[in-house]
Every structure is written in structure tokens, then in C-alpha cells.
Amino acid sequence: MHKKTELICGVSELKPNFEEIGNNPNFVFENDPNFETVRLFDLDGNVVNVNSWLECANYVNGGWTNDISDFLNGEKYLFFGLTLILLVASYFQKKYNFLKRV
């Protein structure tokens, strides 16, 4: 989430403690006038406008995003799919050495 937070909310020196924020029902996010408002949404289509880096990081950590493609990590499925194909191919390569005949 660190990478996604940097991408959506920008870089910050702050090191948020999300557990502490989550466990404190009275926690209030302070607006940052220097922070450009970011609109985030979740999988259900709910929308929120965040006005500080900390608030933005908190929502992103909770799965909110500003881009619909983040909900389905295509690269992850492609990576595991390719790895599976490679494992099968390696097995056949060891057994039949088919690359020699290619």
C-alpha cells in the first residue's frame, strides 16, 4: 500500500500508524490547505474527497483508489499465469528437452 499511497496521495515524510487511527473513534483528520483534494472511491462506488495526506493514506490503505483499474490487479494474474506456464514448460523441457528441437 505504501507504493499505491505515494502514487495517489503523493510523497510525505509522515509515517502513519493506521492501527492507531483505526482504533481511535474520535480521531479527526485535519485539513491541509497545501494538499490538493483527491477524490477516491471504493469497489461499491462510494466516493470520498480527502483533504490531507494522512486522510488520503488512510483511505488508500483501506482499499480506496482514484483509478478503477486498481480493483483488479491484472499484472498479478498475468504473473502467476506466466509462472505456471513456465513451471509446466520447465518440467517438459527437463523430461523431453524440447527446446533442442525448436
Binding site: 490503505n61 486498481d70 504473473f79 513456465l86 525448436v102
Partner: protein
């Protein structure tokens, strides 16, 4: 064919059916992004509207091959000396993705190489080590051209692993893992293909003019990857010219020391795949290394294969390649799907011409980025064919004569006077030498050239006059 069909969603069924391509339906297509494949769109009626398809390289994996944007451009006046009205058109962007482009296009091109007949095997040892080194070099490329790739992919991240805010290890940079694995596979598979085709690949070099090999979204070219793997191979075999290597790296160090680093994103345009898009230290180091390896790779390739060079086969493949360039160019001009897929699977730097009409009634470039360059290639093919046929007395069969006619048609369409006249002059000179074989021939030839030289001097003086 199967790769093209499956990867571009021919078999997929959209949730909602596509509708007619019309300016009034712009909002429909803009609201339903990533819903329709290029096949769904092209099967729709578009009346008399001009449709232009473009690639959107910033797409996600999920959106690959689907509509990324749709807009209607009104008729507008183009002013650049020869003012004309560009007709109205519907522009459609089809999404592509860095990782999928690397995977699909590499698979296709390696598959094409696999069709080259096997001949004279020679085992290349340490293929895994060579591929790993090559992959590492291309990792440097990804780091160095941060500005270029950051604009292309939301998933761009160069760290193999990183730390979360709570210090947990984050090892889900699938973008990078896919990139590295694919590059490793490309090098590894190519080395296997190369070692089994040492005796035949050299005669298939003419197809370099057909398969440009540039990836649709990356600033990379397949020939960089495969030839640099050969360069690494020759380096590990200590098969390098030590003096030239030292001189090259001496100049490189001088260049790097004086480099003024700038974090910019240079529009690589027609040079994409073979030029630096940044002015960072890392990217400059990458391109210095890669051009060194590329040169070594080419030298290694020629050295290992030259004894298998066959003039007849080379000539035949030159003719086939030039004919295919011309024919595919024509097909791409009349069919939008061919235009799109020729761009993608031939690895072109820019889309082929979308009409059979010449530019300003003058030249026609087909699928090539420049008409002049393609004219020179066609002229070279004709020149090579004629000279080799007569010099080596290798007859052309009916099929090759037909291909020669197609190539000549290609020169005529590109309308490159310099290429045509040079070709004619050289052929005339060749026949003159062979007929007379005296010094007088050279004088006669120079007299033939006189009108061309006068014409060139006249043009040169006109240009000077324009600027003074």
C-alpha cells in the same frame, strides 16, 4: 493469427452490444470504456465516416485490446504551406499495456524466427547466465527512463521489494517481475533458436525491413534485446576487439563526466526503440552499454554465419521482403484492421498510411515511416537483384520476376527520384564496364553523370540563394 485473435479479444463477448460508429454515439463509447474489442468496433456500421484507430499505450492489463477513448474530430483546415481541409473523422484509441506488449509481440517475433529452417547447430553455453546479464542490463533501462515509463504505466515501480509503513516487506511488484521474467525468456529462447539456425539466419536478414520490431508501448526494440544477448555471448567468450572496446569506453567516460543530467522526457517518435528518451546518468549508461553490445552482437552474428551466406536465397528473401512491404502497405491503406495489426505485429514506429493517395500528390510511404527510406530500400533490392543475376549468372524464376515487378511498383509509388536515378546509373555503369572494360568507360560514365551533377549543383546554388 491465433495470438492476434485471442489477445485482442476476438473471442470475448461484451456485456453490452456495441453500436454504430457515429458522432452522436460519442458519449456512449466514452462512458463504456474498456468494453469493446477492436473486432466489436470494426464490425459496426460507420457509414461514410472516416475511422482512424490509434494505440493507447497507457492501458491496464484488464483493458488490453479494448476501447480506451473515442472522439469525433470536425473538419479542420491544415495550414503548412499547402493549405487543405482535413476531413472530419472518428478517432478510436485501443488500449495496450507494457507487460502484455512485451509478452505478445516477443512471442510473435520469436515464433517467426522459429520458422527459419534449422541448419548447422552450435551449442551456446551458459544461456542462463547470458540471459540473466541481459535482463539486468534492461533493468537499468527501466530505471534510467523513469519519466518515459512513469507516464505510461500506473504500476511502474523499479524496486524488487520495499517496506510498508509498518515495516512489513512488500513483494508484490508484479509489473517489474513480469518485465524481468519476459526479458529473460526472450533472451533465453532466442539463444536456443539461434544456436539451431546458425547456418540459415543470415540469409533471412532482408526481413528486417519488414519486421521493424519496435514494441507498441516500450522504448525498446526486439533486435536490441536479441542482439545484445549475442553481444553478451561474445563478451563471455572474450571474442571482442580490445583496442576498440577501450577507445569506446574512454570516450564514454568522457561523455558521462561532462553529461548535464536532466530529468526530461524526450519525444522519441520515429526513433522509438533505438534512442534515449531521457538525459539521466542511468539511461545514458544503459544506451552506452547496449550499443556496445549491439555492435558486438552484430559482429558475432556475421562472423559465425557468414560462411553460410547464399546469394540466391538472400536475393529471393530480399524480393519477398520488399514485395510484402509494398503489399501489406496497400492492404493497410484500405483495411483498418490490417492497418492496426500491421502496426502492432510488424512493430512499426508509426501507423501505415490510411489511404492509397500519395502525400500532396507526390510520395506514398505505405507502412514505412518515410517514403524516401522505403524508396531507397526498393531501389537497393532492384539493384542487388539485377547485378547479382547478371554477375553470378543466377537466373530469376517466374515467382522472383513477379516479385521484382512488385518491387518496381513500390519504387514508383515512393517516387524517390534520387534512388531511382542512382539505381539506373549504377546498373548502366555496370553494363558499360562489362561491355567495354576500358578506362574510356569511366570517362563515358562520368559524361552520363554530368546532367545529374549539373542538376545537383543548380539545386545547391538555389538553396544558398534562398538563405542569403
Amino acid at each position: 493469427m491465433a495470438i492476434a485473435i485471442i489477445s485482442f479479444g476476438f473471442l470475448s463477448i461484451p456485456d453490452i452490444p456495441a453500436i454504430e460508429l457515429h458522432p452522436d454515439h460519442t458519449s456512449f463509447y466514452q462512458e463504456n470504456l474498456c468494453s469493446f474489442s477492436i473486432f466489436d468496433l470494426m464490425s459496426q456500421d460507420y457509414g461514410t465516416y472516416n475511422i482512424e484507430i490509434y494505440i493507447e499505450p497507457t492501458g491496464s492489463v484488464e483493458c488490453f485490446g479494448k476501447n480506451s477513448w473515442y472522439e469525433y474530430q470536425l473538419e479542420k483546415r491544415i495550414e503548412y504551406g499547402w493549405d487543405y481541409n482535413e476531413p472530419d473523422k472518428i478517432k478510436i484509441w485501443i488500449s495496450s499495456n507494457i507487460n502484455l506488449d512485451l509478452l505478445i509481440q516477443s512471442t510473435f517475433w520469436l515464433l517467426l524466427i522459429s520458422f527459419v529452417p534449422r541448419k548447422d547447430s552450435k551449442t551456446i553455453s551458459n544461456k542462463i547466465v547470458i540471459s540473466a546479464i541481459n535482463t539486468l542490463i534492461f533493468y537499468i533501462h527501466l530505471i534510467g527512463e523513469k519519466s518515459y515509463y512513469k507516464n505510461l504505466s500506473r504500476e511502474y515501480d523499479i524496486e524488487i521489494f520495499s517496506r510498508e509503513f509498518n515495516n512489513d516487506l512488500y513483494i508484490e511488484n508484479y509489473f517489474l517481475y513480469l518485465y524481468l521474467i519476459t526479458l529473460f525468456l526472450v533472451s533465453y529462447v532466442f539463444l536456443h533458436l539461434f544456436e539451431n539456425r546458425l547456418g540459415s539466419l543470415i540469409n533471412y536478414l532482408p526481413y528486417l525491413f519488414l519486421i521493424y520490431g519496435t514494441y507498441a508501448s516500450l522504448n525498446l526494440n526486439i533486435y536490441l534485446i536479441i542482439l545484445s544477448s549475442l553481444g553478451v555471448t561474445s563478451l563471455l567468450k572474450n571474442n571482442i576487439h580490445k583496442k576498440l572496446t577501450s577507445l569506446y569506453f574512454l570516450f564514454s567516460i568522457f561523455w558521462l563526466v561532462n553529461l548535464e543530467q536532466k530529468d526530461l522526457n524526450f519525444d522519441v517518435d520515429k526513433l522509438r526503440g533505438f534512442t534515449n528518451s531521457s538525459q539521466s546518468l542511468t539511461s545514458t549508461i544503459f544506451w552506452i552499454i547496449i550499443f556496445y553490445l549491439l555492435t558486438n552482437g552484430v559482429y558475432f552474428f556475421i562472423n559465425e554465419s557468414r560462411k553460410h551466406y547464399d546469394t540466391g536465397k538472400f536475393r529471393r528473401n530480399l524480393l519477398i521482403s520488399s514485395s510484402l512491404v509494398f503489399l501489406i502497405g496497400n492492404l493497410a491503406a484500405i483495411n483498418k484492421l490490417v492497418n492496426y495489426f500491421s502496426f502492432y505485429f510488424l512493430g512499426l514506429n508509426k501507423f501505415g498510411m490510411r489511404s492509397l493517395e500519395s502525400i500532396s500528390g507526390n510520395t506514398w510511404r505505405g507502412i514505412a515511416p518515410s517514403a524516401e527510406g522505403m524508396g531507397e530500400f526498393f531501389a537497393f533490392v532492384v539493384l542487388f537483384t539485377v547485378l547479382i543475376s547478371f554477375d553470378k549468372k543466377i537466373q530469376l524464376n517466374f515467382f522472383e520476376k513477379l516479385l521484382l515487378v512488385i518491387t518496381i511498383l513500390g519504387i514508383a509509388r515512393t517516387n524517390n527520384f534520387a534512388a531511382i536515378s542512382s539505381c539506373v546509373a549504377i546498373v548502366a555503369f555496370y553494363f558499360s564496364i562489362n561491355k567495354l572494360k576500358t578506362k574510356r568507360t569511366i570517362i563515358v560514365f562520368l559524361i552520363y553523370l554530368l546532367p545529374f551533377r549539373v542538376h545537383c549543383i543548380y539545386n545547391f546554388l538555389e538553396i544558398i540563394h534562398m538563405f542569403t
